[in-house]
């Protein structure tokens, strides 16, 4: 079944790194999108929802958790799987991220194996 992916990160380099690592994981997407901030991501999701979003937590203007909350308000994003990405790994942060509506959490440094483990269940 074709799948689509959006990567949300304020760093273009990190978006490239994530994209590259996802490819290395062996997961295949028929469509990939990028957004440089939360607002841009919301606009793109409104226009064309995706199956999976990988979203940085620490972004200027709109933090990742806020983006998740707004995405959950969108009628066409109710089934979108949102995985947060961050260097922070405290349980408190993970709990707050999951409470905001995210489906999972990946800590940096990530590896292709980590992406495989987290994303594969949503690919079927």
């Amino acid at each position: 079944m074709p799948k689509s992916l959006m990567i949300v990160d304020d760093s273009a380099t990190m978006r490239k790194i994530i994209m590259r690592t996802v490819r290395m994981s062996g997961l295949e997407f028929d469509r990939t999108e990028e957004a440089g901030n939360g607002a841009e991501a919301i606009e793109k999701l409104k226009a064309s929802p995706v199956d999976i979003v990988l979203c940085d937590i620490n972004m200027p203007e709109m933090p990742g958790t806020e983006m998740v909350k707004q995405a959950r308000q969108l009628p066409n994003c109710q089934n979108t799987k949102i995985i947060m990405v961050s260097t922070e790994s405290s349980q408190e942060l993970i709990n707050s991220v999951l409470a905001s509506g995210a489906n999972g959490y990946i800590t940096k440094p990530f590896t292709p194996e980590k992406f495989q483990e987290q994303l594969a269940p949503f690919m079927s």
Binding site: S11, A12, T13, R20, T87, P109, F110
Partner: protein, 443 residues
């Protein structure tokens, strides 16, 4: 074998080790995320001013400012050289190998600035790796935060780039790193020496003799030959006046130890500190330091390596060495200090786990972990007073310094115990008449 834990190793010693592990972790992260296999070897970890890095960073570089909170509190900087910038950035954005090699050779500052987003992200990855390792391996560490990224020639205005004067003493750590057959590149860390200074403590109210820091940084504790009133002598009422090494084996250790307890009990056995009226056996405690000190202690230079210190101490059968710099007493070193600086993997039980990095710990300069300031006593200081200094500061060695600042000897707990055994037990007549005579003088 002396047990050493991370908590007992001075920060100055621990930071080069943890930094190297952290840089290697960054390399592993890059490998894990991007499949870039980076080799990382420690080139040097030396004290000096930042201009010493010019050799390794002759052109422009990335300077990442990092704010540390916790055991290290303040700013330090991480550097990547020109080759690193083009090589790592080029690999991340998947440039062809030929293009990367060409940029390493001929890339300009303007071209590097166009890669600033990627270069900044590389800094984030480095600081992220460092933060993880510091949390694991540096006691008291709280947080590292990348605060600024500069891509420039750091030698144009170094004071502005690093945020301190050019002659500021720093710990400089340099690594050579390699990726496949690309040209090797250098990474470095610049830790201002002030980062390692212990937090300033309010001086404890005490009636003990005043401590006057000398030009060498030594804290002199000259005492009158005559015992003082009781209030100034109780170790329980005196608190350590200077921050000292945390190692229990340290010559200037603050940790509790049975030896201190034994000495404390001995001093406390006469709470008035007046041994002049005690029997002759106890009166030996009035014996001046010049009588029982070791007049020929081992001397080392602060730039001597751990390896040299270990060899000299073994050759001289010395457990303590005094450190001299510019004709001044600059510090004191114990065998425990040296052992703490050594990687545990250099010891035979862990030989099979030894890495090249472990060998590097032999080259650490002793200035980075010697104990300072040094608590000293005068040649006329009586034994009980030397013992009291040891108790108060929980140290086991006190250099003897005359009024001109010349160090004339060293008293360690060994000298004290030997003298006590000779006289208190009457086991050896050698030296006893002289001690008896000196003690009688003080009555």
């Amino acid at each position: 074998m002396e047990q050493q834990t991370a908590q007992t190793i001075p920060l100055e010693t621990l930071v080069p080790q943890v930094s190297t592990v952290s840089m290697q972790t960054f390399c592993e992260d890059m490998d894990g995320m991007l499949g870039i296999s980076i080799g990382c070897a420690l080139c040097q970890a030396v004290p000096g001013t930042v201009d010493k890095l010019k050799t390794f960073f002759p052109k422009f570089a990335a300077v990442y400012s990092v704010r540390a909170e916790g055991s290290l509190s303040g700013r330090f900087d991480l550097l990547l050289d020109k080759n690193a910038l083009f090589l790592l950035s080029g690999t991340i954005v998947m440039l062809p190998a030929d293009k990367i090699k060409e940029q390493c050779k001929q890339g300009t500052l303007e071209q590097a600035l166009k890669l600033s987003d990627t270069i900044k992200e590389i800094g984030n990855l480095i600081v992220g790796a460092w933060d993880r390792m510091f949390r694991e391996q540096l006691p008291g560490h709280q947080h590292l935060l990348q605060t600024n990224t500069q891509i420039l020639n750091p030698w144009d205005k170094p004071a502005e780039v690093f945020g301190f004067k050019e002659d500021t003493a720093c710990l400089l750590i340099v690594w050579e790193m390699t990726v496949g057959d690309y040209p090797p590149f250098h990474g470095a860390a610049v830790f201002p020496a002030a980062l390692f200074e212990p937090p300033k403590e309010e001086p404890a109210p005490t009636e003990a003799p005043a401590q006057t820091p000398s030009e060498s940084g030594a804290v002199s504790e000259t005492a009158p030959v005559q015992p003082e009133p009781a209030a100034s002598q109780s170790p329980q009422t005196s608190e350590p006046a200077a921050a000292v090494s945390a190692s229990p084996e340290s010559s200037q250790s603050s940790a509790s130890h049975p030896v201190w307890n034994a000495i404390q009990q001995l001093v406390q056995s006469n709470p008035n500190g007046d041994f002049s009226s005690a029997p002759l056996d106890a009166a030996v405690l009035n014996c001046p330091a010049r009588i029982f000190m070791n007049p020929k202690p081992l001397w080392l230079s602060p730039n001597d390596s751990v390896e040299t210190a270990l060899q000299r101490m073994q050759q001289n059968n010395a457990r303590y060495a005094l450190v001299e710099e510019k004709d001044q007493l600059a510090g004191i070193l114990s065998r425990g200090d040296v052992n703490a600086a050594l990687s545990p993997y250099l010891r035979s039980p862990f030989e099979e786990y030894r890495r090249p990095l472990d060998e590097a710990s032999l080259q650490i300069r002793i200035r980075w972990f010697m104990s300072k300031p040094v608590h000293t006593a005068s040649p006329d200081t009586p034994m009980w007073k030397v013992m009291e200094i040891m108790c108060r500061h929980q140290i086991r060695a006190v250099p003897i310094q005359d009024t001109n600042g010349t160090v004339t000897g060293l008293v360690t707990v060994t000298e004290i115990f030997q003298t006590l055994l000779k006289t208190l037990s009457g086991g050896s007549p050698a030296g006893q008449p002289e001690i008896k005579k000196e003690c009688t003088k003080n009555e």
